[in-house]
Amino acid sequence: MRELAKIFIAVGTQSVGGGTSVLLLLRRFLVEREHRLSEREFTEAWALCQLSPGIHLVALAGLLGQRIAGRRGVLVAVAGMMIPAATITAAMTAAYGLIAGEPIARAALAGMAPATGGMTLGLAIVLVNGARRHGLRATVDIALVAVAFAVLWATTLSSVAVIVVAATFGALFLGRERPTSPEGASE
């Protein structure tokens, strides 16, 4: 159990930049270096995690921890990955707070805002590419994206309602091909 904790703490503290690097490190430690799981087990767990709500990598850590060490493995894996990373995130936020009022920080924010906005747009495009179907069916999928965009942009309707309606619509009409969005899901 201590070895498992070490692996997930290492992933939580060494993976800079988000989902892709977390995924790569998990695979490197658990499949290639420690041989705790087979390539197939890892890939299957990742495919299942894309169906989970929230942060898919938390679901992945939980599933892998459970497969390796049962219920205690879930706790060790999730806490090992998330608590150190969250502590680093909180410390960085506190450090930024010390200079947030300075002119240089405000100028940096003027550049960070469009950068994060653009990254959000880029992620949305990755998500669409992973989830949309092909041929004429893609038209329906793109229309759904456009409607969700328009609702948030031009109305005061709840985003939750948009997701619930779209998920219901999807369950009824969009289920002919499975979605495959490894990159978008890794976020």
Binding site: A115, G118, L121, G175, A185
Partner: protein, 171 residues
């Protein structure tokens, strides 16, 4: 915002989102539109989430810290870690249903709607309502979208690059 209320908002928005950034449009509607946090705080949290270690969904921890200090960060950590774990009992009791055609459609519908909501949020971060962005801010937004889509440049580099351009051009 009271700790319990903060926990419930973060839990709800995480539970209804797909992926770590999927909760962004929901949280913006719940927290920015109601004046609890500002768009600037949201951007700072997103940037720190990209620069920090761990899943990028931890930007919520940065937001929680800005709202209520270490307690807010802890609340955000717990609230964003619980919903994904629903996959554990779900795979145990309903693995076949998770792999069914209607469930695939449900996930696809939610993913496409999330993409649309993220598009609207991304555009409004580049060009906030009632505010005309500079040419260089539009260029930064387009470049960041392209780099993220291609996936070749590390996200932290994109954020640092944007901050550097801001320091050069916005002062």
């Amino acid at each position: 915002m009271e700790p319990l209320q903060l926990f419930l908002v973060l839990l709800k928005d995480s539970a209804l989102a797909l992926g770590g950034l999927g909760s962004l449009p929901l949280l913006r509607q719940d927290l920015v539109a109601t004046g609890v946090v500002t768009d600037a705080q949201l951007v700072e949290a997103l940037a720190i989430g990209r620069l920090s270690t761990g899943p990028s969904g931890l930007w919520v921890v940065s937001l929680g810290y800005q709202m209520s200090g270490p307690l807010g960060a802890a609340i955000a950590l717990v609230a964003s870690s619980l919903p994904p774990l629903v996959i554990l009992p779900a795979t145990a009791v309903a693995r076949r249903w998770l792999l069914s055609v209607p469930f695939a459609g449900l996930v696809r519908g939610a993913a496409l709607a999330t993409a649309g909501l993220l598009c609207a949020t991304g555009v409004s971060l580049i060009a906030p309502a009632g505010d005309v962005p500079s040419w260089w801010q539009v260029a930064v937004g387009i470049a960041a979208a392209a780099f993220t889509y291609q996936g070749r440049l590390h996200p932290a580099v994109v954020v640092i690059g944007g901050a550097g351009l801001g320091i050069l051009l916005a002062r």
